[in-house]
Amino acid sequence: MTELTLAKAITTGLADALEADDRVVLLGEDIGKLGGVFRVTDGLQERFGIDRVVDTPLAEAGIIGTAVGLAYRGFRPVCELQFDGFVFPGFDQVVTQVAKMRYRTQGAVKMPITIRVPFGGGIGSVEHHSESPEAYFAHTPGLRVVACSSPQDAYSMIRQAVESDDPVVFFEPKRRYWSKGEVVTDVSAVPSLDRARVVVPGTDVTLVTYGPLVQTAVDAALAAEDDGVSIEVIDLRSLAPLDEDAIVDSVQKTGRIVIAHEAARFGGIGAEIAAMVTERCFDRLTAPPLRVTGHDIPYPPSELEDHYLPDLDRMLDGVDRVMGVRV
């Protein structure tokens, strides 16, 4: 057990994956000597060589498209897209090729590709550097979409993602890169990649979130305790597929659910969960499912991002509402 930052936990996970399987290759812009703009691949090129940690030309369609070819050839590519706002030049390859190849070939060709995306706001950056594009990917059948929130999950989940024979879009909460936690590198006992996790047990309200807002939700649960409200915090971990049973089990207990994400509300992960919970727990609900999300606007200039991003107060406001404290 060692204490690592979330970023270093991914670095360690990638190093161990490279060590464990010589078909694992890393591709991305600036991931070599620089170690990536967030230093997540720091030292890996030096250790594993330029053919396994590849500084690519500057083209996202190129990165994902060549990963498809490498996968055809039996490699296990791990692609880094530098920022959430820059995934789109590669989006065509992800949606039309990576996601569909296995289906198209009736299982003959697998696409064990991991696509790492640092995502989310709250870092005071410029345009295109703070976005949450996960719903676009989650909407695409054939992709697994996950988001880690703690150093332990960062380590375990990147190992599982790389080992998965399915393509995995791996969202990393960039504003939590420097948060620290204990990490064990034995992944035999960790939950599988498609399972949610109860982070804080509670009885009154289920608060579901993922990625950067998990810590915020934990803080909200602590704060609510003082007011006598018991919040159960669920970290989704997997956005597609959803661990429906974990959510349903919790709502069966609490009868109330608040879903939080930074991404815009319309057509987001929260909408999917609200619909699912309404379908499966209609009789048990004592309040309509409620979403606490970014507004349905482009990500605003960073000086105004606090008015956009759901924070602890917005979560508690949502909790108050499902509790009937506020109307």
């Binding site: 000597k33 620089l34 703009v37 030309p57 409620l290 606007i297 949502g318 509402r321």
Partner: protein, 397 residues
């Protein structure tokens, strides 16, 4: 143009094909390749030469100040233009008022020369606004907004240039009204598919435009040889677009080449590519650490090719005295001080602005979410519940 094997060996360096007018130590000794561009220098006066120098120095000062402001927490980010002043001053002066500029995100010199208030660039990098200036306001010299998504503006420029052509605004022979478009992008961005697609469209429609590629040797930590094994000016020829390489640290060569290529575009002779060979003397942005990927020898080498020093030597050779240079330095200091003062005076815009201009037409969702946020935020002041019966940031009744 011919591409010999040794040209393929190094795509960063200059060759016999490179247009250069001033030697590195500032002597007026045009290369053979410069011959066809020299007539464009004939109309320049000593005042122009001095203005070129003055602008390079003043914007370098501003750029340094902005870098400091970022280090002091005043800006989210700053991409320094230091080292690229000659390419930018030369090309910006080559454009006519009716021409349209599509910048990337490092064209502080170009933008400023065309009339953009540098504080508007600062506002973008501080995170006050996503675009900073109104690209349709004539005072901004037809400079479109900065684009952080690499390469995408190449297509926008090409579409705009197609529009110029459809409007019959190129190739009429009128020096006053024929228009051209110039788009700036980097050596890294040149690898994006959007740039190749822009070449395809530009070639197809014979657009009145110049692709101005500043090869500053680096795309963050990735050297230009990762993007191309051939010199980048050769990139477009397969698309039917002629390319020319210019010493981008030579302001006169940069001016002459761009002036000619823009003239060709305005005259209806189609698009061209200019590769300006230069160097990013600073970090990629203020969050970058170049010592991780490039050597101090390389930095040293390029510091010896500083475009400002070259122009200063040229002017000195023409009899400009030390006092004049000192005065310019002073002007640059005042200019920077003014920017610093105005930056520190910037205030955060009002929260509700985040809902403005998402759509042109009324939009129920926007109105509702704006109203919700206002109520919600006011609830902290007045300590009254935010309440909402409709909004789903709220949602539950």
């Amino acid at each position: 143009m011919s591409a010999t094997n040794d040209r393929f060996a190094t795509s960063a360096g200059l060759s016999a094909a490179t247009v250069q007018v001033l030697t590195e130590d500032g002597r007026f000794e045009p290369t053979d390749a410069a011959a066809e561009y020299l007539p464009y220098l004939d109309s320049l006066t000593d005042d122009d030469f001095r203005r070129f120098y003055r602008d390079m120095v003043v914007v370098r000062g501003f750029d340094t100040e902005a870098t400091n402001l970022q280090r002091q927490g005043q800006l989210a980010l700053w991409p320094p233009s230091s080292g690229q002043e000659a390419a930018q001053v030369g090309s910006a002066y080559a454009a006519k008022p009716q021409d349209t500029i599509f910048p990337s995100y490092r064209e502080h010199v170009v933008a400023t020369i065309r009339g953009v208030d540098p504080l508007d660039i600062i506002r973008v990098m501080r995170g006050v606004t996503n675009s900073g200036w109104d690209p349709t306001d004539p005072k901004n010299g037809n400079v479109r907004v900065y684009t952080l998504v690499l390469g995408t503006q190449a297509l926008h420029a090409t579409g705009y240039a197609m529009g110029v052509k459809f409007d019959g605004k190129a190739g009429t022979g009128s020096a006053q009204s024929d228009e051209a478009v110039i788009v700036y992008f980097g050596d890294g961005a040149s690898s994006e598919g959007d740039v190749s697609e822009a070449f395809v469209f530009a070639g197809s429609y014979q657009t009145p435009q110049v692709f101005f590629l500043q090869n500053n040797q680096w795309a963050i930590s990735v050297p230009v040889k990762t993007q191309s094994r051939t010199p980048l000016y050769l990139r477009s020829s397969g698309f039917g677009i002629p390319g020319v390489q210019v010493d981008g640290n030579d302001v006169l060569a940069s001016y002459a080449v761009t002036a000619k290529q823009l003239d060709e575009a305005r005259a209806g002779h189609g698009p061209s590519l200019i590769e300006a060979v230069t160097y990013r003397m600073g970090a990629h942005t203020t969050s970058d650490d170049p010592t991780r990927y490039r050597t101090s020898d390389e930095d040293e080498h390029w510091r010896g090719r500083d475009p400002i020093a070259r122009m200063r030597a040229f002017l000195t050779g023409r009899g400009v005295g030390g006092e004049w240079f000192d005065a310019i330095d002073e002007e640059a200091a005042d200019y920077s001080a003014d920017i610093r003062r105005r930056t520190l005076e910037l205030v955060a815009p009002a929260a509700e602005l985040i809902f403005d201009h998402v759509y042109s037409e009324p939009h129920a969702g926007m109105a509702e979410q704006r109203a919700w946020l206002e109520r919600y935020e006011r609830s902290f002041e007045a300590d009254v519940p935010a309440g909402s019966t409709t909004s789903t940031q709220g949602g539950a009744a």
